[in-house]
């Protein structure tokens, strides 16, 4: 892979910025010696064509949703509508400074307000903030809210967060960042929270529980009401990780299940693109007792005007520079307008039907440790593959067939996990093709295991050495490794 720094720099490119139309300043005079940069950063000067070619070439080494099925479990890699991209680029949104006066930004503020209201209705909860910019950020805010409400209740000794063993890594990490300790609750053999194990932990040191609904096995906690009731009865609070909302949106609401805090992943449920790892957006909904603690500024409407409201003394503070990822919110809003109520139901219907269809077909070939109705995803195991073929090998072999592998080795409670989320936007033909490929690979594992263990053969690179990357970290361009850039 040629990097930017492998291109020869040249003098005299220019052409982007105008000539200076005010008197030039003598930098050493206006800034003072010692403040002026002594050595220029090593960034090559290139023509626009060279830049365009370099990044066009890089783009072609990537696989995106527009290239085919992208069944990463828990990630909801569904189709990202082009309309969303276009509205987010409108100059009337993209060109607004966050400090501009409210009367000059009513369109933007109004959109944020309307989106919050829609999300509030979807969640069935009391209020929504759009400030968090990712799922994990929403979790962190949720933990801050837990901490603040417990402080206010005079229960600072509630310092433990309970977590099912199937939880996503961000859950314990968020709890810890907010100063909580984490206690894992084991799952029962149906893949859901073991109620007895839960009850055994519920004491006066428990701040609350973080649940993923449905959980990372793709299973809905049928006894969700028992779980949240037990936690509440014990004086704890209930956090719902909403990464998997696409499986029940338009049919059920976390607010009706006992959630105190619920986070949306707009970049999963509401179709905003993942950007190769971000930016996302993670709105947070809360139950009535937590409303006062929401981060400032609030976005409030009164008599038709929307404004920023900073006057919430109980607020937990702020978790973002401004109002969250506004341009992501624009996309999610446009998507919701298109869906409407009927579209919400269609989303969950297709997400769940697609997953169950694939699950039923694939369980004939790969063991399904939790064999039951799933929601938007399911988790197979690669442990029974013959000839030392691993789940990692299967994933790499999928690449050779031109499709993206599922999430692997997560959740941790399934051995050699293959966590498959087809998403609601995939169609039957695509599902069948994907299943066929996985079936072929299982056959190959039997008949020609080297093919699978040696995969990928048809990717831009072959299997990468992770150990070397860890042992000998090269984390930026080694300019000294070779002759200096001319």
């Amino acid at each position: 892979m040629k990097t930017l720094f492998d291109h020869a720099s040249r003098e005299g490119v220019g052409g982007l910025f105008p000539a200076c139309d005010v008197p030039a300043v003598a930098l050493h005079d206006v800034l003072g010696a010692g403040l002026v940069r002594a050595r220029a950063p090593r960034i090559p000067n290139l023509s626009e064509g060279e830049v365009a070619r370099h990044y066009t070439a890089l783009s072609k080494l990537n696989y995106g949703v527009d290239d085919g099925i992208y069944p990463l479990g828990s990630c909801t890699m569904k189709y990202n509508p082009k309309l969303n991209e276009d509205v987010a680029r409108l100059p009337g949104f993209a060109g607004v400074h966050p400090h501009a006066d409210a009367d000059l930004t009513q369109g933007a503020l109004g959109l944020l307000h309307e989106l919050s209201e829609l999300l509030r209705a979807i969640s069935g909860m009391a209020a929504v903030t759009l400030q968090p910019v990712a799922g994990a950020h929403g979790e962190l805010l949720g933990m801050f809210l837990f901490k603040r409400v417990l402080e206010q209740r005079g229960e600072p000794s509630r310092t433990r967060i309970l977590l099912p063993d199937s939880a996503h890594g961000t859950n314990p990490a968020s709890a810890a960042m907010a100063g909580f300790s984490v206690t894992e609750i084991r799952s029962n053999d149906r893949g859901t929270v073991d109620l007895d194990a839960l009850r055994a932990e519920l004491d006066s040191t428990v701040a609350g529980i973080m649940l993923t609904v449905p959980n990372t096995l793709g299973i809905f906690e049928e006894n969700i009401l028992d779980v949240t009731r037990a936690v509440h009865d014990a004086g704890g609070l209930c956090y719902f990780d909403g990464a998997n909302l696409n499986s029940f949106i338009g049919r059920a609401r976390p607010g009706d299940m006992g959630a105190d805090v619920f986070h949306f992943n707009l970049h999963k449920t509401l179709s905003t693109p993942h950007g190769g790892g971000g930016p996302g957006a993670g709105a947070v909904a809360v139950s009535a007792p937590l409303v006062d603690y929401l981060p400032v500024p609030w976005i409030v409407e009164s008599s038709g005007a929307v404004r920023l409201d900073w006057d919430h003394p109980k607020s937990v503070g702020s978790v973002h520079s401004f109002y969250g990822n506004f341009l992501v919110a624009v996309r999610a809003y446009a998507y919701l307008l298109q869906l409407g109520d009927s579209g919400l139901r269609e989303v969950s219907e297709n997400a769940v039907l697609n997953a169950n269809y694939l699950q039923e077909r694939l369980k004939k070939t790969y063991p399904l440790p939790y064999d039951r109705l799933c929601k938007h995803e399911f988790v197979l195991s690669g442990e029974s593959l013959p000839n030392h073929v691993s789940t990692l090998d299967v994933a790499k072999r999928l690449i050779d067939y031109g499709v993206h592998p599922p999430t692997i080795y997560f959740p941790l409670i399934v051995h050699e996990a293959l966590m498959i989320e087809p998403t609601e936007t995939e169609g039957l033909a695509s599902l069948d093709r994907f299943a066929e490929i996985l079936e072929t690979i299982a056959r190959e594992a039997q008949e020609n295991p080297d093919l699978v263990r040696g995969a990928p053969m048809r990717a831009p690179v072959r299997r990468l050495d992770q150990t070397k990357a860890a042992r000998n970290p090269v984390l930026s361009y080694p300019f000294d490794e070779q002759a200096p850039t001319t």
Partner: protein, 440 residues
């Protein structure tokens, strides 16, 4: 629905294949009383044509987007070379996930590696991560990291750091049980270093700071001893300014919006995070590293993952998962497009134009600069008149200037902060001066 790919007949076939009769059976695991409580949100589905229209109308409802901006305070009206959006618009980049499968993510990974290198080059640091949410959360994470390293439970932070950064740091530090000690600024608007306490894990300054003033960092680190020096910076200014790394900063963070991102009403933004190699194990966030493939061919992959939440869970250096990858790509393409020369040029333009405006302000009756200290492209004007009246006058003349309340909360009264970028023409600046002086 236009985005779903199953026909009703497909759904019937699938239901049949899984032995179900009715799609509602698929939701039988949700408690009936929960399902029963569901209420529609009251939204009729709309067509693409209608939605585009409706949302465009909201965009048209932001006159701020069409006015001449003198707003700054961490977000600036810089020019974005057109090529940036074209690259970001390639679906291979924007629709991809985090590069968990490096063999089909070399585009994202190579760009991450380039981004890290660029952040190192700009800041003068040894390593940088692949991005944080924004400058404010980057600083909050830096505070957590500094305290993880030194463990004293206290961090000093100058009060001339941008308010939005301080707010977020305060929230994170409170939750983590870290005490924040405020360090005041002196008459020149700079951090009063002599007021930095000794027993802190780190000290946080920003340069240029919330007043646009460049902090004098020379020699500070030596005086601090093992207290970590954490510097928040404005990366575009580093085209001109000596980088924090040159002053031995331990952690450097910054808001990367100036590098090719639209202002976007404040999001998405781009948190920069750089530090020294010795602190790699404490670094939050993702990082790409170079390695080789099975054929010995070089390639990139995510490195040092054992710090991260998906492996280390509650002992991770951060909970961050989704970050600002596409914004980091924007910054990378931006810097590739401007090159070292263009970066210097744009920084010089900002600096020269801001000084042109400042000189005119100095000559305007009833106005003076609040601080006598070097600045880059942003400065604070003290006004004899109530600052809000001046702001209103500028607004009437078509200029966006921030509400003086924010400066006032920071202890600077009757003052306006003015920021100037390469996009402001001399003519616009002259008109701003007229408006400042009461002429239109």
């Amino acid at each position: 629905m236009r985005y779903l790919s199953n026909a009703a007949s497909d759904r019937d076939r699938m239901l049949n294949a899984i032995g179900r009769h009715d799609v509602e059976e698929l939701f039988s695991d949700i408690p009936a009383e929960v399902l029963a409580k569901y209420e529609p949100i009251g939204l009729e589905p709309k067509s693409e044509l209608e939605v585009f229209d409706a949302v465009r109308r909201l965009a048209d409802g932001n006159p701020a987007a069409g006015l001449v901006s003198l707003l700054g305070g961490g977000i600036y009206d810089h020019y974005v070379p057109r090529v940036v959006a074209h690259i970001l618009g390639r679906s291979e980049f924007y629709t991809a996930y985090t590069p968990y499968q490096p063999e089909i993510s070399q585009g994202t990974l190579t760009a991450m590696f380039e981004f890290q290198t660029l952040v190192c080059e700009l800041t003068g640091m040894e390593i940088a991560n692949a991005s944080m949410y924004d400058g404010a959360t980057a600083l909050a994470e830096a505070v957590l990291m500094a305290d993880r390293i030194r463990g004293r439970g206290r961090i000093a932070m100058a009060t001339n750091v941008l308010p939005q950064f301080r707010r977020v740091v305060a929230t994170y530090a409170w939750a983590a049980g870290i005490e924040l000690v405020e360090v005041p600024f002196d008459a020149s608007g700079r951090c009063a270093w002599d007021r930095v306490p000794h027993d802190v894990s780190g000290v946080v300054v920003q340069s240029p700071n919330a007043f646009g003033v460049i902090e004098s960092l020379a020699g500070r680190k030596a005086a601090l001893g093992d207290t970590l020096l954490v510097v928040a910076t404005y990366p575009l200014a580093l085209g001109l300014l000596e980088p924090p790394g040159a002053f031995e900063a331990d952690i450097v963070v910054g808001e990367g919006q100036s590098l090719g991102l639209p202002m976007g009403f404040g999001g998405p933004l781009l948190g920069l995070f750089a530090t020294k190699m010795e602190f790699l194990r404490q670094l939050p966030g993702r990082i790409a590293g170079r390695t080789v493939d099975a054929d010995g061919k070089p390639g990139f992959t995510m490195a040092a993952q054992t710090r991260e939440q998906h492996i280390r869970r509650e002992r991770a250096t951060s909970n961050i998962c989704t970050n600002s990858a596409l914004c980091a790509l924007a910054a990378t393409v931006y810097l590739a497009s401007v090159g070292a020369d263009g970066l210097h040029q744009v920084a010089e333009l900002c600096c020269a134009k801001a000084h042109y405006l400042a000189d005119a302000v100095r000559k305007t009756k009833g106005m003076k600069l609040a601080f006598d200290a070097p600045f880059f492209n942003e400065f604070v004007v003290e006004t004899k008149e109530p600052a809000r009246a001046v702001q209103r006058r500028l607004a009437d003349a078509g200029f966006l200037v921030e509400d003086p309340a924010e400066l006032e909360a920071q202890g600077v009264r009757n003052a306006l902060r003015l920021a100037v970028t390469e996009q402001r023409s001399r003519d616009e600046l002259d008109r701003a001066v007229s408006a400042l002086g009461g002429k239109r």
